[in-house]
Amino acid sequence: MKIGNELHNAWTSARKRTRVRRWTRNSFFYFVLVVVMIILLFPFIWMILTSLRTQVENTSAVPVWFFKPTMENYRSVLDQHHFLSYTLHSFIVAALATGIGLVIGLPAAYSISRYKQKRLAFAILSARVTPYITFLVPWFAAFRFLHMVDTYTALVSTFLIVSLPLIIWLMITFFDDVPVDLEEAARIDGAGEAEAFLKIVVPLSTPGIVASAILAFIFSWNQFLFALVLSGPHTQTVPVAVFNFITYGEINYGGLAAAAVLITLPVVLLSLFIQRWIVQGLTMGAVKG
């Protein structure tokens, strides 16, 4: 009996210890997690805080953590003649670059996936290796010659460099995942390869296509270098607009932050919608090598 009691006590206290240990391990984990998330997200938090403070609050030596938020900065950003039109330009160029990237990229990715065209894949993807600036001057010279500077055609063509390899790279792995049997079934039914592609493979890969499209859109939207140089008054995109708040006299911190928030917001929202697919797409490509 005594031994039984001792055993029972030992067992109960062992369980208690494990429970306590697990509980502390769990709270330790959550603590670490929260700290890590705060560090990762701090710049965003700071961006939003700064955008809601006045210039005086923003230029104080000690950060003002508690303040009455003001919408004045957002109002001044939106009041700027050109901010909305820059946003529109960004949207148009990114959408076009993505759309054309899909039209050109999907068939190419499919072909590479089905026919195992490794060398072709390598050739297209090696475009990523070259620094973008290498293209800039020759492109500019060409566009000048064709009188196409400050046109959507010029910008979209250059943004394709960003969107096309990305779409192809992602879609190769997504297409790899579509079982060949389905296409073969379709072919037995009398459809040609192209029809099988359009009617079977594409619909089945919609999640992947949507993910690639959104990623391509995001990266086009974020593009800075090309827009900086190649755009003119009629096509100026929005990342460059942020610089307008570094005017003479003072840096309008609040306006800058507000502009930064407005510029980043669309891509952040988009990414939240498709986070699962982004992760899958990016990592699949990497994991499968």
Binding site: T59, D79, H81, H82, L84, S85, L88, F140, F143, R144, H147, V149, D150, Y152, L228, V229, L230, G232, P233, H234, Q236, V240, F243, N244, I246, T247, Y248, G249, E250, I251
Partner: protein
């Protein structure tokens, strides 16, 4: 194509709507002041066109931009003003001009910086035909009202390429309250400047204000070149020797740079090599610098209650005298030019006339900007205006009368030249050997001359 037109329409409506909202007050004021319409010249001659102007983010731009609606009402021309911070401004302009882009009709430029390059490439339009044609130029424009010396900078080979919008010179700003508190005299020579800075450092530390720097000056490449050149000239240095080689490694140049770099590294902010006028004016206006050496244009910032904490405590002094006992300031000017590829040159000229007319130049002067028109400086309205500072006027005029205009190396590829010098300035401020740094400058400057000429 339809999409483009629709977007352009939507944007135009948006732009005009907002510009009207912004410019309503000014427009009403102007109309009440009464602008005369002269016979032979018609302000509305180019009505309906659109003029695209690329501007540098600058006091003058800040002054003129809200007044756009006034011009639009007067001329019926739609105005699209695009302003960018200096670095992006230069890039945009370069890209657009070299592309022969029709998207730019008029733009701001500095002759000593840009005219050689733009001229040689045919990117800037001579405007003599406009000036001499009474049907194209309003009789009220009075081009001779602009300071003669300044106008001359815009002439090359007998042709005029632009109209100045202001004249600036680098002066010494100082805190009258701090000087009074510590019993300091305004430095008249370079030695005195150094002594004052030294005493300020001690006194400020003793008063517990060691986060106030004795002096703020430019240290950033290439902007620092504009202030350093005054010191170069003060020691008797020049840009080039008689044989055409760069003179930046001369003993005079070494002494000048040693002084400048020493002053800034010992008595300036620790991040001086990252600072240009944007940071320096902010430091001074926020009360964190006891002295500042930069363009007199920035009176507009430091005496503006909205952006400055030191209003009422700002004194102005001329560049201290160099070892030869004389002052050697330089004079700079921004102006407006017309793009040769523009398809609205006449309308662009109308814009320039309006933007730089007597009334607007007076308004600019009253706002603190050093106008390029003599009439503005002499106008009773200016003399009796709010914020009028006799000291600033006197110091500015003193320097204008003795200043030289070659504040940039007289070569075609000015940016390359400015950078050649700028790198040495940064290196010197960081404590490296001045001679070595300047020898590198000479090498780069000579290369710039070799590739692009003078």
């Amino acid at each position: 194509m339809t999409r483009k037109i629709l977007i352009a329409l939507a944007l135009s409506v948006l732009l005009v709507g907002v510009s009207f909202a912004n410019g309503q007050k000014e427009a009403t004021k102007a109309m009440q002041a009464g602008t005369t319409q002269a016979a032979g010249f018609n302000w509305k001659a180019n009505s309906g066109q659109t003029v695209n102007v690329v501007l540098d983010s600058h006091p003058w731009q800040k002054f003129i931009q809200p007044l756009a609606a006034e011009f639009e009402a007067k001329s019926g021309i739609h105005l699209d003003l695009q302003a960018y911070p200096e670095d992006q401004f230069r890039q945009k302009l370069l890209v657009n001009l070299s592309a022969g882009s029709t998207s730019v009709d008029s733009y701001m430029f500095m002759p000593a910086q840009d005219l050689a390059l733009y001229g040689k490439n045919g990117w800037i339009q001579p405007i003599d035909s406009y000036l001499n044609d009474p049907s194209k130029t309003s009789p009220n424009f009075d081009v001779n009202d602009f300071f003669k010396g300044v106008r001359a900078s815009y002439d090359v080979n007998g042709k005029t390429y632009g109209i100045p919008l202001h004249v600036e010179t680098f002066i010494l700003f100082y805190r009258t309250d701090l000087f009074k508190k510590f019993g300091l005299e305004v430095p008249q020579t370079m030695d005195q400047l150094k002594a004052v800075a030294e005493k300020l450092k001690q006194d400020l530390a003793a008063a517990g204000e060691s986060n106030v720097y004795p002096i703020a000056m430019r240290g950033k490449t290439p902007d620092a070149t504009s202030s350093m050149v005054n010191f170069l000239f003060s020691w008797g240095g020049t840009w080039f020797n008689a044989d055409g080689s760069s003179a930046l490694d001369s003993p005079a140049s070494v002494q000048a740079l040693t002084y400048y770099a020493g002053l800034l590294s010992k008595f300036g902010p620790p991040d001086a090599t990252s600072n240009s006028w944007q940071a320096d004016t902010q430091l001074f206006a926020q009360g964190q610098a006891a002295m500042m050496y930069d363009s007199n244009v920035f009176k507009a910032i430091v005496s503006n209650p909205q952006s400055s904490k030191v209003v009422g405590n700002v004194g102005y002094a001329p560049l201290p005298a160099g070892p030869d006992g004389k002052r050697h300031p330089t004079v700079l000017t921004w102006g407006l030019g017309i793009n040769t590829a523009s398809q609205h040159k006449d309308a662009a000229w109308d814009f320039i006339q309006w933007a730089l007319d007597k009334q607007n130049q007076l308004g600019y002067l009253q706002a603190g900007g050093p106008s390029a028109r003599a009439s503005a400086w002499e106008s009773p309205d200016f003399l009796s205006s709010n914020g009028y500072s006799k000291s600033w006027v006197d110091v500015s005029n003193l320097q204008y009368s003795i200043a030289k205009g070659d504040w940039n190396p007289p070569i075609v590829n000015v940016q390359q030249g400015r950078n050649a010098y700028g790198l040495a300035i940064v290196s010197a401020i960081q404590g490296n050997d001045v001679s070595t740094a300047l020898k590198d400058s000479v090498k780069r400057m000579d290369q710039a001359v070799k590739e692009f000429g003078r």
